[in-house]
Amino acid sequence: MALAFDEFGRPFIILKEQEQKSRLRGLDAQKANISAGKAVARILRTSLGPKGMDKMLQSPDGDVIITNDGATILEQMDVDNQIAKLMVELSRSQDYEIGDGTTGVVVMAGALLEQAERLLERGIHPIRVAEGYEMASRIAVDHLENIAKKFEFGPTDLEPLIQTCMTTLSSKIVNRCKRSLAEIAVKAVLAVADLERKDVNLDLIKVEGKVGGKLEDTELIYGIVVDKDMSHPQMPKRIEDAKIAILTCPFEPPKPKTKHKVDIDTVEKFQTLRKQEQQYFDDMVQKCKDVGATLVICQWGFDDEANHLLMHRNLPAVRWVGGVELELIAIATGGRIVPRFQELSPEKLGKAGVVREKSFGTTKDRMLYIEHCANSRAVTIFTRGGNKMIIEETKRSLHDALCVARNLIRNNSIVYGGGSAEISCSIAVEAAADRYPGVEQYAIRAFGDALEAIPMALAENSGLQPIETLSAVKSQQIKDNNPNFGIDCNDVGTNDMREQNVFETLIGKQQQILLATQVVKMILKIDDVISPSEF
């Protein structure tokens, strides 16, 4: 195979021989790929649901991450296999698109692969399987549309939104105070949301963390928190009605970008240069003062002299503020980022009600709070917790909750959670399967079975009898023709997810099914794996 002949009948080599490359072909390739995909799914399977377990990940540098978030686990895993990398990509794209359900999508893809393997063993061509999956996914997505509920919320009635965020948070370690965190997430999203355009820019929500305190101390700040302090220890720690000059030029002598040299060869030149230099600092500070600024926030450093002059003129200043934070401050305070002192003008200043410095614990950690801004559409969620890992995990969980709230504002359709949507889809897909002539029928039916993997995993993780519970719920759904029955993970006593207030977003679910199907199709179509050997 690797040998071909050119038009003169001379052999030439397309692919180097086996010792350089390892190669798998045909059914072997598919099987190997499927088993790799399944292996990844198996790792995540136990993290699913409110009773899911966490994974501890050790990075190459020895740092420890403890998490339950599928996308994070996969990202931190040192994956080498190509197919496994595809699964990692899958979870990441779910994370980018939706932000939640990153575990579910991988588990679903794993289940689809598992079903595909069985079909392949029965001699069904992979392409037929892929096509069958495609049809089935279309049925499932349409079915989701049918069972989805619109739900109404307004600026005054936040309860439904909070409930949905709580569903997301209940699977994380922070579920101890999910209520308050969900409220924070919803309020944060609503603060930055543009309800008319149904758009939310999550960049406006900054999630900051600081170790210490307890989870309950996590708070939402209508403003910006910057992990910086005043440049001079004796500057005021609290400024009311601040007018903020946001600068991206350093309080330092100018550094022209063109190469130049200033030659000093006489005493006069030396003295003028010195005068100029002093004048320069004075001008810089004076300009800020003249436009009426009461606080200077600068992206760059200050020269000692400039620092003192600022202090002297009673102009508090903050230095080394990062670019992203600077932008957020500019948005929040309604100011403009000014690149040169000459361009400062009163209307370019940002306004904030209170700027204060707050210190924490026994070390000299200080943070700068900028609150009551002119434009309240930039908020900060400030998380506290017992240790670094909890803080990191809280941040990730909040990110998921924020994404969910955003998705709901974009599209207020929901489906019920707890695996109920999957079971309902599975029923619909299986019912539809019989109508398809041809081999695809098998694939469609297999898709229906694969959908049950999620409720099954949920039941398993919650310590219930998986098969028993699943079949009970399924028969209940068919009998009552009610798609709201799901797995009762928390042992509340009812299977009706509407009563339990467990929601998920419609687009999240649809996206899960579509993404998983796409990846599985891609994997199934591979019939030849060529990888360079190790050395």
């Binding site: 088993s35 501890m56 170790v211 305190g213 210190s359």
Partner: protein, 527 residues
Amino acid sequence: MAIDTIFKDEASQEKGERARMASFVGAMAIADLVKTTLGPKGMDKILQSTGRGREVTVTNDGATILKSLHIDNPAAKVLVDISKVQDDEVGDGTTSVVVLAGELLREAEKLVAAKIHPMTIISGYRMAAECARNVLLQKVVDNKADADKFRSDLMNIAMTTLSSKILSQDKEHFASLAVDAVMRLKGSTNLEAIQIIKKPGGSLKDSFLDEGFILDKKIGIGQPKRIENAKILVANTAMDTDKVKIYGARVRVDSMAKVAEIEGAEKEKMREKVQKIIGHGINCFVNRQLIYNFPEELFADAGILAIEHADFDGIERLALVTGGEIASTFDNPESVKLGQCDLIEEIMIGEDKLIHFSGVAMGQACTIVLRGASHHVLDEAERSLHDALCVLSQTVNDSRVLLGGGWPEMVMAKETDELARKTPGKKSLAIEAFSRALLAIPTIIADNAGLDSAELISQLRAEHQSEGCTAGIDVISGSVGDMAARGICEAFKVKQAVLLSATEAAEMILRVDEIISCAPRRREDRM
């Protein structure tokens, strides 16, 4: 192509029971390591660094021990982290928090072996922690209103904290030092204002609190050694050559004469600067940066005390203490705030000369001078004192106080035990386990003191059946005693932080069912 190749070569993966075992074992090993340092009769550890010089640290402070360990077990790292946070947040209880977390995991291991799901254990632990916290909240004493009582509370807390450290011999002395220092802060938690200077020599008892400010620097030669009614200018400015800061400027001359001219100009510039500084009407000048000989000479001529190279902290503190501002330009003397103090003099501590500022305007700052036989002793003394200062400054803000000597643990254990009896379901087993883990702390304290812990704990438990009991372990006499009468106190904030972060950490480790370690990053051998 087998399944197990989805990871890179050296990455490892542990699952289910094995993973849980690995994390339990790691966490318990850490807890056992620091266990023996707990309590007034706890032992110290010697730590030897792997760096050059093989420096040795002798310590009893949990956070310090754990910080210096090289740990490979991820679960152990979680415990190290909580101890570090405890240190940063409240300063004390760094050992207790690790020991409690370790005990919680030890109990959890037994429950897991008895086929109870980790999630059930976690929910039980959560209930128990909540209940324990509530009972502590009920039992706290708040003496903020009564100044005398509050001070005696602070003294008691400081003594209790110090009693487990190297300073226990002179704990009264040091407790009063710490309390005085913290009271001067007037409620701020800014411990930077308290400076600790370590000078080897003498004994620990010779340590003292100085109301003024001591700067570990020498006075320039030929300058006055003693100034009354000092006016101090605190500065951060270059006093060496005062370079031209404009980028790209350089001196290019074509003859020696010009070099001399420029040099002259430079000198002139410096002279002007010095004149400006003198123009502030000062008699003491403290600079963060170096002062070269030339300006120093000028200062000496003007009869001004010039101190060079005071480090950044020193400058900030001095500015804080004397109420001056840190100046970098000297063009308008009338608006620069000068620092003031009644007397600056050179004093001797041991062999070293230090500069002493007394009668400072702002009474907030003070200096504690520690004396001791060796550097190791001094380092440990500093750590102990730091712990005490942290706890005290936190207590000044949150003045709720509890009794010590294992009393809070007994109270919490009793309450959680009762909760366990009332709770139906498997959770009650976890709650019971929580109560046992709490009891482990007084047990360890007693064990470390070489006492019969089983006997003492059972006695204590019997005592605690009665309402309003104040009994705890008196390690000194080796019996159960009345903690209120012996004045053994602990700050509520410390206990609460220990309880909450230990539970959080245990919970986090329990939730793990899989450990994936990446291949360690390769470092080039620098041999």
